[in-house]
């Protein structure tokens, strides 16, 4: 058994689940010990994720590496198949990083901490499972498993009395979308399997068989899949679960819920949309680009009009996810590379912003922008952190989100200059609302803050440990995004070449 035969992907997926099960049952153990155990598991998982990424570093490796396969339910083509290419490997690294961030930041949760960490870890495992599945039905299973911990994170640890309603709305919305995908998957199994052969939902095999379907069937199947992804990303008219869910969820959980989970939708659009149904994706690309652009602008405007810091961040996150979708539907190397890069960048910046907002909340007791102001004198370091994160998020050149923005707008420019011209409006709006957010809290006159915690200190050591690496990552990926794109580019180009070949029959 060589090293590469080791079931590494499976371990990366299920280690968090095992740890979560242990946490749920270990009622007798010291709670601090359990906390450090969870952190340790998250660290180990991050290391494993980097090991998964390692074959793609440094050379132009394309296609799937690693991977395990076990037969499960033959009759419907369900096999346990997991594998990674460099796109999913990067996203798994991101998820593992966010899992670590979430568990580390979640150390201070007061109620039922064991269960909280268990939910975080199982959410991490489920998201990694989504990224690693190469069987369509398995993908669907992990997709739905994600909902369970996410539901509990919102409904049990949410911040106000509306948490259960927000959680239910979140689950119903995503479920409504993904059931279409389930139907699509099963239908796909029927129509792509030659008569008499065994049902197969293996990704690569399905990808080869797709070209035999009539364009109309492809279109309907694409739409069925898109229904699930549209809600998950979310794109414009299907976002109404998002502001409440994000406003309710506790900040550590948001590291995964806002940082990693929407990326599964974007990843789905890429892997099971553009790469699976290239012809249909190209046909619907203008419509989906319009939705993505609409969401980008709409979210930015909403963030401009919102008073609550967390909701501003929620709308900004929604807005940026639309932007990522725009890159995917450019269907060219620049757009797709930029979209994946931006998923990673957004996944670093957004959780950091939510956590910084939570750090501010613990000191002031309010999220209302109109009640805050002039805080920089009081907590200059936290203010500086906030500024850097806001700047990164609004796409200041030199910080990480600019790199993704550059490639995404570049890709959409190549697809159609009109998209790029509209997209930059959103960029200007982002500058506007982020500056409004930053200045609203940290600059300007000092209002009377009755509930302000006067004794609160500037950033504590635990906060430094949490935020400094994130800020360093933000700067590093801003100065040298080629660390990511250099690894992504060969894979993305290869996939795009293959799929356009299939689609156009060349």
């Amino acid at each position: 058994m060589t090293f590469s035969d080791f079931p590494l992907v499976t371990i990366t997926i299920f280690l968090p689940f095992v740890a979560a099960t242990f946490l749920l049952t270990a009622s007798k153990l010291n709670i601090r010990a359990l906390y450090w155990l969870s952190v340790l598991v998250a660290v180990v998982n991050l290391v494993l994720a980097f090991v998964l990424l390692s074959p793609f570093l440094g050379n132009a490796t394309t296609g799937f590496k690693w991977g395990e396969e076990v037969s499960w339910v033959k009759q419907i083509g369900l096999r346990y198949q997991v594998s990674v290419d460099s796109i999913s490997a990067w996203l798994i690294v991101l998820t593992a990083l966010l899992g670590l961030v979430a568990v580390f930041a979640g150390g201070g949760v007061a109620e039922r901490p064991r269960y909280f960490w268990a939910a975080l870890l199982s959410l991490e495992g489920a998201v990694i499972g989504v990224f690693a599945s190469t069987n369509l039905l398995l993908f669907y299973i992990f997709w739905e498993v994600m909902l369970i911990p996410a539901y509990f994170l919102i409904s049990s640890w949410g911040e106000t009395n509306f948490r259960v309603r927000a959680a239910i709305r979140f689950v119903l919305f995503t479920l409504a979308g993904s059931l279409f995908m389930l139907v699509g998957i099963l239908f796909l199994a029927f129509v792509t399997t030659p008569a008499g052969a065994e049902f197969s939902l293996d990704y690569l095999q399905v990808q080869k068989n797709i070209a035999n379907l009539s364009p109309e069937t492809q279109n309907w199947l694409f739409l069925a899949f898109a229904a699930a992804f549209i809600v998950k990303v979310p794109l414009l008219p299907f976002h109404s679960w998002l502001p409440d869910a994000y406003a309710e969820a506790p900040a550590p959980a948001l590291a995964l819920i806002a940082g990693a989970m929407p990326k599964t939708g974007a990843y789905g659009f890429l892997r099971f949309g553009v790469f699976l149904f290239p012809a249909a994706a190209a046909e619907f690309a203008p419509w989906l680009s319009a939705l993505a652009l609409g969401g980008f602008i709409y979210g930015a405007l909403a963030a401009l009009g919102e008073r609550d810091i967390k909701r501003v961040l929620a709308y900004s996150s929604f807005s940026h996810m639309g932007f990522i979708a725009l890159g995917i539907f450019a269907i060219n190397s620049q757009g797709v590379n930029g979209a994946v890069l931006q998923m990673i960048n957004h996944g670093i910046v957004t959780p950091a912003l939510f956590l910084a907002a939570a750090a501010l909340y613990t000191r002031t007791g309010t999220n209302r922008l109109d009640l805050l102001g002039g805080l920089q004198d009081r907590w200059p370091r936290l203010g500086a952190l906030f500024l850097v994160l806001c700047l990164a998020s609004l796409g200041l050149p030199g910080l990480n989100q600019f790199a993704g923005e550059f490639l995404i707008i570049g890709g959409s420019f190549l697809a159609s200059p009109i998209y790029a011209a509209i997209a930059v409006v959103g960029v200007v709006l982002a500058a506007w609302y982020f500056m409004r957010l930053f200045q609203g809290a940290w600059h300007g006159p000092k209002p009377d803050l009755l509930q302000i915690n006067a004794g609160a200190t500037d950033m504590r050591r635990a906060e430094f440990v949490l935020f400094v690496p994130l800020v360093l990552l933000i700067v590093l990926l801003g100065v040298a995004p080629s660390l990511v794109t250099g690894v992504l580019d060969p894979t993305v180009n290869e996939w795009l070449r293959q799929t356009t070949q299939l689609a156009l029959g060349r």
Binding site: A302, G398, F406, Q439, H443
Partner: protein, 740 residues
């Protein structure tokens, strides 16, 4: 040594990081000296780079220094790299040289009261120098980048440091609003540049200057992309250089400390637009639209800003509008291809405008934050203000284009490009522009030169002449006076870089870069050289005459007429530092009494006289004071209807508010944007949620309620159901059978 350019960029970055990370462990003075040292060393490194032509005699210009892949994707490969060529080096020299002087000046300036009326704390002091070093770093990155993408990185980051420094007095609402406005308007420029970069990459395959701007790329094809690229880059240039229509942020940017205004909003950052046009001149020079649009924008802005400056009462705002106007000159020149002249004026303007701002800064500083010129006066006679007086006078003369100051040579070299009587010869007009067009621009430039001299000497008269101010200036630290002296000398000798008819260092200096990037690498090229054959005597007389006339009229008006008293009754735009501070603290306090004995009629009269002399406005109506004997003067009788006077007042207000563009933009963009945002966030989305909750959820609920009713538990109901079902089935079968 071209490699020294790396040090030029690196040192200010180290300065910023050093103060930002280890600031609390440094003493206040230590941090300032560290920051100055970093910029000073960067200047020395820039000098070292500038000596390159001594070692490499011909065609110097290195691109792709310190190169690495920034990002790659498909066919796109964007690299980081620095350029050391005449253009980047001269910009680096100006940025680090003027930057160093202003850093030294700031050591003294920032020690005392801030312009928000509060003492600068040690923390503020360090923060200031950290931001200044960040700015210098970003600006150097902008001018030394060897490709458009890293130029954009510098471009965005100078916007950021400008934001941080405009909003330096972070608790003052007007400063906060001005900072945000500047940032957002600059972001519009950033995205213009971004789109321009895509046009360039998509059509040339590269973003680097040396690969994209080759003659093959620029002359082949139908060339429509060049028009697009030029227009998109122009958006960026216009936003950064505060040209029409993105000009409104610059006057508000004066909320920052004065050294910031001198460095960022006069000498360096705002000239980035001119730099961009010169850098991308193969695109601009080969675009037929840009050759017309850029000079028109420049000429209009020069004229517009000069008219606005006529009515300003705030000393710094006069200088801000003047900067905008001078940048308009540079755009005029760069637009028609007179790149040497534009760069000449850029360098000379950096010297004398920095001098003017710093002189104004030392006046404001020693008057305890007072910026309203009407509260100044008679400062020439104050011994403490001697150096500021000399500096301001030299700066004003240079700006007015009086020989032999720097502004004379640089401004005449620009006006020389636009023959006033349409006599453009083939030599002067390589791009074949309409001579009438050029002469119209030339006349606008001449008119602007007249207004420039007028408003500068209006400011001079208000500040230095006339009755003495009530405020008591105190003397400035020695380092401030030293910097004023150095800049005064530079403002005199800076013009000797190019002496028409005698020598022209700039022509030789820029020759390599303009030739390397020239698309039609023929004999003439796309640029105007500064005319070495001597200027036409008529134009020279007109140019100097306009300046002299402006000065004479301003001096006469403020010496022999009651204009000073009339100015005192103008509406104000910005309050005093004290008022702003009060507004910042949110407290509405009754205005302080003027100090005179107010109860007697004589006291009232005295108060009025004092206010008119000192230029105090009448206090605004304060409800609490109604009925109380206060210093407020009620008009003796209803003023007569006087259309002339009303018109004059309306005109003054129109100019004071910059032709009302602020209001227009507010109505067109900022207000609708915010209102749409509120509508979405607080209404549309909430309603959509409710629709989902109560609509879909309610439908399910009602449906389940209805179907629940069938579960009655009564056997007869179920039996009825079975019966009905059976009947229905039977009918169906019967119909099927009959049809068959």
């Amino acid at each position: 040594m071209p490699e020294a350019i790396g040090l030029v960029v690196l040192l200010p970055l180290l300065g910023f990081l050093g103060i930002a990370l280890f600031g609390p462990r440094m003493s206040q003075r230590g941090a300032a000296i560290f920051a100055c040292a970093m910029v000073g060393l960067a200047f020395l490194a820039a000098v070292l780079t500038a000596l390159t032509p001594l070692f490499y005699s011909d065609n110097w210009g290195s691109y792709g220094l310190y190169k690495y892949d920034w990002t790659l994707s498909g066919t796109w490969r964007v690299t980081f790299g620095l350029a050391a060529d005449p253009l980047s080096v001269i910009m680096a020299l100006v940025v680090t040289g003027v930057g160093f002087l202003i850093h030294v000046y700031s050591i003294g300036y920032m020690t005392e009261h801030g312009e928000d009326g509060h003492m600068h704390t040690e923390k503020d002091y360090r923060r200031f120098f950290a931001y200044m070093n960040l700015f210098v770093f970003a600006m150097l990155l902008l001018v030394t980048a060897d490709n458009f993408v890293w130029l954009l990185v510098g471009w965005g980051n100078v916007g950021l440091s400008s934001f941080l420094l405009i909003g330096f007095y972070k608790n003052r609402p007007s400063a906060v609003a001005a900072a945000r406005k500047a940032f957002v308007m600059n972001t519009i420029g950033d995205v213009g540049l971004l789109l321009g970069i895509f046009v360039i990459i998509a059509n040339t395959g590269s973003a680097s200057f040396s690969a994209a701007l080759t003659s093959a790329n620029l002359t082949s094809g139908d060339g429509s992309w060049r028009e697009w690229a030029a227009m998109l880059l122009l958006i960026a240039a216009v936003a950064k250089s505060a040209q029409f229509p993105l000009q409104t942020w610059l006057p508000d940017a004066m909320e920052g400390p004065t050294p910031v205004s001198a460095l960022i909003h006069a000498a360096t950052m705002v000239t980035a637009g001119v730099y961009l046009i010169v850098r991308a001149h193969p695109i601009f020079g080969n675009s037929t639209v840009a050759l017309v649009v850029v000079p028109i924008i420049g000429a209009f802005t020069a004229f517009y800003a000069a008219t606005c400056a006529l009515a300003q009462t705030d000393l710094k705002r006069v200088l801000a509008y003047s900067t905008m106007s001078q940048l308009g000159y540079m755009f005029m020149a760069a637009g028609v291809g007179a790149y040497e002249a534009a760069m000449f004026h850029l360098v000379a303007h950096a010297f004398f405008k920095a001098l003017l701002f710093l002189a104004a800064g030392s006046i404001i500083h020693s008057l305890g934050g007072e910026q309203d010129m009407r509260n100044m006066g008679g400062l020439r006679k104050q011994p403490a203000m001697r150096m500021a007086w000399i500096g301001f006078t030299i700066g004003a003369l240079a700006l007015s284009g009086i020989p032999p100051f720097a502004g004379f040579f640089s401004k005449e070299s620009i006006l020389g490009v636009f023959p006033l009587f349409g006599q453009a010869t083939e030599n002067y007009n390589p791009r074949g522009l309409d001579p009438i067009f050029l002469s119209v621009i030339g006349w606008v430039g001449l008119l602007t030169a007249f207004m420039t001299a007028f408003y500068m000497f209006r400011a001079y008269m208000l500040v230095f002449e006339g009755p003495q101010t009530r405020l008591h200036p105190h003397s400035n630290p020695a380092n401030m006076s030293f910097v004023l002296a150095v800049l005064s000398v530079l403002s005199v000798v800076g013009g000797f870089l190019a002496m028409p008819g005698l020598w022209n260092f700039l022509h030789d200096w820029f020759q390599p870069v303009l030739r390397v990037f020239d698309a039609n690498a023929g004999e003439r090229g796309v640029w105007f050289p500064i005319q070495t054959n001597g200027l036409e005597i008529v134009e020279l007389v007109l140019g100097v005459g306009a300046g002299v006339a402006g000065i004479v009229i301003a001096v006469g008006l403020y010496t022999f007429t009651r204009q000073r008293a009339a100015d005192a009754l103008q509406p104000t735009l910005t309050g005093t530092a004290e008022e702003q501070q009060r507004a910042a603290e949110g407290a509405v306090q009754p205005r302080r009494a003027t100090g005179a004995s107010l109860l007697t009629p004589r006291g009232l009269e005295e108060a009025e006289i004092r206010r008119v002399i000192a230029g105090r406005n009448l206090s605004p109506v304060n409800k609490r004071e109604v009925g109380l004997p206060t210093g407020r003067i009620l008009p003796a009788a209803k003023p007569k209807f006087n259309p002339l006077k009303l018109g004059q007042q309306a005109m003054t207000a129109f100019l004071l508010y910059g032709w009302g563009f602020d209001l227009i933009y507010k109505m067109l963009f900022s207000w609708p944007g915010e209102m749409t945002g509120r509508l979405i966030a607080r209404f549309v989305d909430q309603e959509a949620e409710k629709a989902v909750d109560y609509g879909l959820g309610g439908m399910a609920w009602e449906g389940s309620k209805a179907s629940r009713k069938t579960e009655t538990g009564l056997v007869r109901n179920y039996a009825l159901g079975i019966l009905l079902g059976t009947v229905a089935l039977l009918i169906y079968v019967a119909v099927q059978t009959v049809q068959r």
